[in-house]
Symmetry: C2
Subunit: 109 residues, 2 copies
């Protein structure tokens, strides 16, 4: 078999650096495609395709305004990702504490 489809979930969608850039850019406020193209210096078809993926997994919302399409990041859809990563928080805190303890032991000697 081959790899899982990118459109399957948020994890795959944000694996692409360009799509993360787009999400960052659209977090503050909605923007038309043309502005994304200019701001991020990407080809228009490329932006449209990435937006399509982001839209399919619900990471962005769209609405039409005349001939423009206004996109904005749907932060809600990023929560599961944050939540998953967050389950490891206690572990890295614990790891950091051990590093700190060792440093203090060394200091004591």
């Amino acid at each position: 078999m081959a790899r899982a489809a990118t459109t399957s979930d948020a994890f795959n969608a944000v694996a692409e650096p360009r799509r993360r850039e787009i999400l960052n850019y659209l977090a503050l406020q909605e923007r038309p495609v043309g502005e994304i193209v200019d701001a991020l210096e990407m080809e228009q078809p490329s932006v449209s395709k990435h937006l399509r993926v982001l839209r399919d997994v619900g990471l962005v919302h769209v609405r039409r305004d005349g001939r423009q399409m206004l996109y904005r990041t749907n932060a809600e859809a990023i929560r599961p990702l944050h939540a998953w990563a967050g389950t490891f928080e206690r572990y890295w805190k614990h790891q950091l504490m051990r590093v700190k303890e060792r440093a203090e032991e060394k200091q004591a000697r």
Copy 2:
């Protein structure tokens, strides 16, 4: 061109569901490959390959113990992911607040 290499960063590495399962499993304590194979019901070569990817991006640590290789999740490497997703927290909180406000307005009428 084609897609970015999976081994390039943590985002790509965790895009694969099986690798997330492995990370979850190895978070609590280190385990030999064989136990991962049994616990997650995956083929041994498959597990080894996923571990290789995780190791290349620093998401797991390894040490040898006799003929076993003991792997454990390096939670530290997940922090950047958590941090990135966390930058959107204020937005989803804001969105939720608006939803709540609308509900209350409706209630008032």
